[in-house]
């Protein structure tokens, strides 16, 4: 008798079931990715309906991008992101702390969790359209401000750098703070209640507890939130695009990197757009590397420094 059924190999079924993902990833993500990188070395665009290229031009696209306003747009993106991110993380931290604090006994936590997450469910473009109308010079916000006597003349929100940038920041804040809150709540709930109890017995007040216990304990998650937010911020596009009609007005101060990329795609300039994408890819890649390192350490609080410290202590 042959021992045909002696060893049953289930592994192939595993591969079989994850195959669809790999196939679709390969077709819809990997090939376009390689294509993008390939085209970034070519002069390839459309003039009218006549196609120019693809002609191989080496790294000329990369050089001319460095000579363009790319860095200015990168700075714009960063500023817009910071304006939104700082209130986002602060409010999220405070809310998360309150929601999980058993002694505060906030009623309807579940309800508020849903409500603060809601703005994220609205399409960014619809959200931007709404703000565009609300904050237009003759819009409702100006009318309210004038009728309660705060300002005499309508304030031109979208005509000023300050107004436009803060609106974009505000919208990003509104859309994302719920998301961060929920993530940070999970992190805080993961802290052992023993630590909190001990601190309470030692006479720790709530501010001390926040700064000396909660914050250090959730540091890895906080870092993760920060870096994913930066990567998300790098790709900021929909809100300023709709709010400024794709122009990054005024004076191109709200033009983000992806909007810049988009204006290249208007002329089907695959070469230049490809080169810009590769730059973005490299930056996101580096950031991802940090996240990966941070989430893959098996030391107690997730940071490198702590890992080294722990090692030293063990050696002693």
């Amino acid at each position: 008798m042959k021992t045909k059924h002696k060893k049953i190999d289930y592994a192939k079924w595993g591969y079989f079931f994850i195959l669809p993902f790999f196939v679709s990833f390969f077709i819809f993500s990997f090939i376009p990715l390689i294509d993008t990188i390939r085209y970034s070395f070519f002069e390839y665009y459309r003039s009218g309906i006549k196609e120019v290229g693809p002609n191989f031009i080496g790294i000329e696209n990369y050089i001319s991008l460095l000579g363009s306003d790319m860095l200015k747009y990168a700075a714009n993106t960063l500023i817009l992101w910071i304006i939104g991110f700082i209130p986002q993380i602060v409010i999220a931290l405070v809310l998360a702390e309150w929601f999980v604090d058993a002694r505060l006994k906030i009623h309807g936590t579940q309800f508020f969790k849903v409500v603060i997450y809601l703005p994220n469910l609205i399409m960014a473009s619809a959200f931007a359209m709404l703000f565009f109308t609300m904050f237009s010079t003759n819009g409702p916000v100006n009318e309210i401000l004038m009728s309660i006597g705060l300002i005499k003349e309508p304030f031109d929100f979208l005509g000023s750098v300050f107004g436009t940038r803060s609106l974009v920041g505000f919208m990003n804040f509104l859309m994302w703070f719920g998301n961060s809150t929920i993530m940070l709540m999970a992190a805080i709930m993961g802290i052992s209640p023993d630590v909190f109890e001990a601190s309470e017995l030692d006479g720790c007040n709530s501010i001390q507890r926040f700064f000396y216990i909660t914050l250090p304990q959730i540091r890895p998650i906080l870092a993760y939130t920060l870096i994913t937010a930066i990567i998300g911020g790098l790709q900021m596009f929909d809100v300023p695009q709709i709010l400024t009609n794709g122009q990054g007005t005024p004076d191109r101060t709200s033009m983000t990197l992806i909007m810049f990329l988009n204006s290249h795609l208007k002329s089907r300039n695959y070469g230049m757009a490809g080169a810009l994408s590769v730059y973005l890819f490299i930056v996101s890649g580096i950031l991802c590397f940090f996240v990966y390192r941070m989430t893959n350490n098996d030391d107690p609080d997730g940071s490198k420094a702590a890992a080294k410290k722990a090692k030293k202590q063990r050696r002693r």
Partner: protein, 457 residues
């Protein structure tokens, strides 16, 4: 990259749906001979379909969802509609045109439409995507003798070969509020108002009068752009060159707009067109005296935004003759239905009876010189919205005198970007030189083959 995938998917869907359509059209009579069974029409809305249904005699019926129109001989017209916004229509059309040579007979584009802003891109002689009318067997000189000359020039390539034709003609007028005219000038008679706005200098004096009473002459600096922009002497980019030449007329527009805005003749809070503030400026509570609109503007833009009674708006002559818009019908190179296409183009753009019907039903100013003269003298063409005024009376002389600016394939971007760049300057966000620099940056971004920008003086 995502866009590419989506477009590939869409193409697949379109192909699949047109193939599915083929199954139905098995019966047909012999009339067409070697004519194809499917006429594919690319357009950005159902405007053209409605016009065809209204006047093309061979239309039998249109499916409920409006995607397929069957003709009497069994040939099907497939309407492939993509919105104009964000250049989606042109993207989809360009994709289809690139595949034209390899497409099977029933998938080939047979007719496509274009607007004045980008008609030049498609009538390009080298690209040769729009067939010369003569190749279809149409002689523009005799068959289309009734058309306004400038519409023929617009649809022609550099060699003067006409490659498209339009049913509409878009001369613009000055549309004004009668109640404001009464208040400021003591009269709302179109002739008297016409005298007050007959040229830029007179209009400026009039603007001062309006300002004294607290009214704006126009809503936004963008309102007057077409009048300057359509009278430029040389095209934005000369054929075969890669330099954008900004015309003196454009700089005049910048200078005058700044002056008018600072003087308070224009509403500072309205920035450009097609936005909420602009729409509100057409409402009864606004303080804006006039708009510059062609026939479609009055019907599609002003009317829906007006919240008062009919008869408050009136039309009179503009300070300068101009044209704004217009949809052109092109026969696509490689079409397998040349006879049908020819038939449709002739019925829609060269048949006086049909065009007059369109004028009556859709309040359009159509492309027939003698027909429009008749309409101007015919009280049945008067408009209820304009208080019984016959606007054709004012449109017709403007149409006769339009000098259309020479076009280039870069017009759409140039027109859009120069207005955007100088918008910051008008509002005081940047100085003049910075606005110029911003235009240069933007235009090179949009058109990679542009190498230099030349300013007048």
């Amino acid at each position: 990259m995502k866009k590419r995938i989506i477009s590939i998917l869409l193409v697949a869907v379109i192909t699949a749906s047109s193939l599915a359509g083929c199954g139905k059209s098995s019966s047909s009579d012999a009339e067409g001979g070697e004519e194809g069974k499917v006429i594919n029409v690319y357009s950005w809305n159902d405007e053209f379909r409605k016009r065809v249904e209204a006047v093309y005699p061979k239309v039998k019926e249109t499916s409920k969802d409006g995607t397929v129109t069957t003709l009497n001989d069994g040939t099907e017209i497939h309407w492939i509609i993509n919105p104009n916004q964000d250049g989606v229509y042109q993207q989809k059309l360009d994709e289809a045109l690139m595949k034209q040579a390899d497409a099977s007979a029933d998938d080939k584009v047979d007719i496509f439409l274009s607007e004045t802003d980008y008609v030049n891109k498609y009538t390009d002689a080298d690209a040769d995507v729009a067939m010369p009318l003569t190749s279809l067997g149409i002689n523009p000189d005799t068959d289309m003798a009734e058309q306004y000359e400038f519409t023929k020039v617009t649809a022609s390539d550099v060699n003067g070969v006409q490659r498209g034709s339009t049913w509409q003609c878009c001369p613009g007028l000055l549309v004004y509020r009668r109640d404001i005219a009464m208040d400021v000038f003591g009269t709302d008679d179109p002739e008297a108002i016409g005298q007050k706005v007959k040229d830029w200098d007179t209009l400026k004096a009039t603007a001062e009068e309006l300002k004294a009473k607290g009214y704006y002459t126009f809503s936004s600096y963008a309102d007057t752009f077409r009048l300057y922009g359509n009278s430029i002497e040389a095209s934005w980019v000369s054929p075969g060159e890669t330099t954008v030449k900004v015309d003196q007329k454009i700089m005049d527009w910048v200078k005058d707009s700044k002056e008018w805005l600072d003087a308070g003749y224009l509403d500072k809070s309205v920035k450009g067109q097609w936005n909420d503030d602009w729409n509100k400026a057409m409402g009864s509570s606004a303080k804006v005296f006039a708009f510059l609109f062609p026939a479609w503007g009055i019907d599609f833009t002003l009317k829906p935004n007006w919240d008062g009674e009919n008869g408050v708006w009136g039309v009179t002559n503009p300070p300068q003759e101009y044209n704004w818009g217009g949809s052109y019908i092109h026969a696509c190179t490689g079409t397998d239905n040349p006879e049908h296409v020819k038939d449709i183009i002739l019925a829609l753009t060269a048949d006086k009876k049909n065009l007059l019907k369109l004028s009556k039903d859709y309040a359009e100013f159509t492309n027939t010189r003698s027909g429009m003269q008749e309409a101007a003298g015919d009280a049945s063409y008067s408009s209820e919205f304009l208080g019984g005024q016959n606007s054709f009376q004012y449109f017709a002389p403007v149409a006769e005198n339009i000098q259309i600016a020479p076009l280039s394939a870069y017009d759409q971007g140039c027109v859009e970007l120069i207005q955007n760049s100088f918008s910051d300057y008008f509002q005081g966000a940047v100085d003049f030189d910075k606005a110029k620099a911003n235009f240069e940056t933007a235009i090179i971004e949009r058109y990679p083959d542009i190498t230099a920008i030349q300013w007048p003086e």
